[in-house]
């Protein structure tokens, strides 16, 4: 077999380096696209954020000027706090999803259809979810107002018209599809729970909450991790619902960073692209903390693999 390992003179450069070159050939189109549309724009945005720019004329270097302005901008403050509200309240989707998954994890007639219908809200676009909920919240005529009115609660201006409740109203709308997503993750996870361990724990007298906490949840860890990732990302990406339901109002009380950025750089108030870019950079840095954590946990997993 010495014959075949000898690089025969007739073999070309490609044939000799096939295993080394092939992955790069396969990666090339993907990396090219990704670099042009995702990687490079990130750096461009950072660069733009140091300029005053209306998107058309010359960029004017102002160093950290945009960021200094952010620090005193009331709109930025509101958006930032709203982002935090979104982050914390959105996480409710995880226990809520687990709860529904536990409720549906049975084998009765028609349960498959029930599971799909419970998952349904996730498939619908957020634009439609936003519209549906804004009708649900209509002042006076909305079903929500009718129901809480029944209990003697009156929200002046309706849920979305009242600066104190509007953000919570939108988050509730966002939780609806997000809970459905977490539910499906947990249903899949529950399916794979080791029945022998459950039986063994049962023989040891574990049941109810104890069983859930000590036996089931540890086995659901991968599902919880993914639910956590998608929920955090979803919370920080919230834009569609706000844009559809309140367009940032009333009195700018429902702005979040993503919406604020869009409003500053592309709206009737003018194209402040430089300022917008600096908001985007702040949002990116917040996200980067989470991305770093996700990648780190994935790296820990990878080390165990092949």
């Amino acid at each position: 077999m010495t014959h075949s390992t000898d690089p025969a003179p007739s073999k070309g450069w490609y044939a000799r380096n096939e295993i080394r070159v092939t992955p790069w050939l396969f990666l090339l189109p993907g990396i090219l696209f990704f670099a042009v549309y995702v990687v490079v724009p990130i750096f461009q945005s950072v660069w733009i954020s140091f300029h005053a720019w209306d998107g058309l004329g010359e960029k004017e270097w102002i160093g950290l000027g945009n960021y200094e302005r952010l620090a005193t901008d009331r709109k930025f403050e509101t958006s930032f706090w709203n982002n935090l509200k979104w982050l914390f309240l959105y996480l409710l989707a995880i226990p809520a999803g687990l709860f529904i998954a536990l409720f549906l994890n049975q084998k009765v007639w028609g349960i498959r259809l029930y599971k799909s219908l419970f998952f349904f809200p996730f498939v619908i676009s957020q634009v439609v979810v936003g519209l549906v909920f804004s009708w649900f919240y209509l002042p006076n005529n909305g079903l929500f107002d009718v129901i809480v009115g029944f209990f003697g609660i009156d929200i002046s201006g309706g849920v979305l018209g009242n600066p104190n409740t509007a953000t919570y109203g939108i988050i509730a709308a966002g939780l609806w599809p997000q809970t459905a997503y977490c539910m499906i993750l947990y249903l899949t996870g529950l399916n794979a729970v080791d029945p022998e361990q459950v039986e063994a724990a049962r023989l040891d007298g574990a049941k109810g909450w104890k069983m859930l906490w000590f036996v089931i949840l540890p086995q659901l860890k991968p599902a919880t991790f993914i639910a956590f990732v998608v929920t955090i990302i979803g919370a920080l990406r919230s834009f569609d619902l706000i844009s559809i339901m309140t367009n940032g109002g009333p009195f700018g009380s429902t702005r979040v960073l993503s919406f604020f950025m869009f409003e500053e750089s592309l709206s009737e108030f003018g194209f402040r692209m430089g300022y917008g870019a600096s908001i985007a950079v702040v949002l990116f840095l917040i996200m980067l903390c989470f991305i770093g954590y996700f990648l780190w946990s994935m790296y820990q997993d990878e080390k165990g693999g092949r």
Binding site: S45, L143, I244
Partner: protein, 282 residues
């Protein structure tokens, strides 16, 4: 199985569960049921303040007829299809290649490139917005479907690569080794061995990306403007300003706009869920 299977519980518990199920479902889908009801009502119902009661007349054909024949809705739907389908094809094609490269070959920067794709996939859209819009304008593709498609392909490649690479990694590596011993060229291994095994992943990704792109709103607003190229998610806002406060028509329009991904989900449910829950089980 956890919780305890209901068939092992008392008769009373079983009956309670069986009756709770439909109740819970109705509560859960209440907003949707209400909108479906809106869409078959007449405008007279809303004028009379009958928002949440039963419709006084059944106007399904009338309302949906208006959506299809007296608005730009059909154009928006066609635009959405012309944006979504090329994106699905493009992103799946690119990522089956990147996934193959990252899943099969060992080289130094492998994990770094993989992480670059994942990290890029998690980035907030806003940090890309200004440069991508500039690039699209510069290429003369602003307000075209192609401009939107190119961006979507690029961005979705991140998520798709994660998916494909993990799927390929789970394939038996001996197959590839055996093929190499036979002296089969690497691209043939991809085309004749790996790709056929990837069919379930291709199906799962296609339905997922279809839904993601169909439902995209942000980029539609950033990169397109009018009924010539706007997809239905962005178009529905102008549809709604055409029929302002006519809830029966707005809700009919929303249902039409939401239908394709819903249909996709119910037809391809198994693949859809397999795709979404990838990694939820070790």
């Amino acid at each position: 199985m956890f919780p305890t299977p209901i068939e092992k519980r008392s008769r009373g518990a079983q009956l309670t569960y069986q009756s709770l199920l439909p109740l819970a479902l109705i509560m859960w889908l209440l907003p949707l049921i209400a909108v479906a009801m809106f869409s078959v009502k007449s405008s007279a119902d809303f004028a009379a303040g009958n928002y949440w009661g039963l419709p006084s007349s059944f106007e399904l054909f009338n309302n949906y007829g208006k959506v299809f024949f007296q608005s730009d809705m059909p154009r928006y739907m066609v635009n959405s299809l012309l944006i979504t389908i090329p994106t699905v094809v493009g992103a799946v094609a690119l990522s089956s290649m990147t996934g193959f490269a990252l899943g099969i070959y060992k080289f130094k920067s492998n994990l770094w490139i993989f992480f670059m794709f994942i990290a890029g996939n998690f980035v907030p859209f806003q940090i890309l917005m200004v440069p991508v819009r500039d690039l699209t304008v510069g290429l003369g593709l602003y307000d075209t479907k192609l401009g939107l498609v190119l961006f979507h392909i690029a961005f979705q490649t991140g998520f798709c690569t994660l998916f494909m690479r993990n799927f390929i990694r789970a394939l038996p590596f001996e197959l590839i080794e055996a093929a190499r011993v036979e002296g089969i060229a690497e691209w043939r291994i991809f085309w004749y061995i790996v790709l056929p095994l990837m069919k379930p992943a291709l199906a799962a990704l296609s339905v997922l990306i279809f839904t993601f792109i169909w439902n995209d709103y942000f980029w539609a607003v950033v990169l397109t403007q009018g009924p010539d190229s706007q997809p239905v998610t962005a178009g529905i806002t102008s549809f709604n300003s055409q029929f302002v406060a006519q809830y029966h028509l707005m809700s009919a329009g929303s249902i039409v706009a939401a239908l394709p991904p819903v249909a996709m989900f119910f037809l391809m449910q198994k693949h859809f869920i397999a795709g979404l829950t990838l990694g939820a089980v070790k």
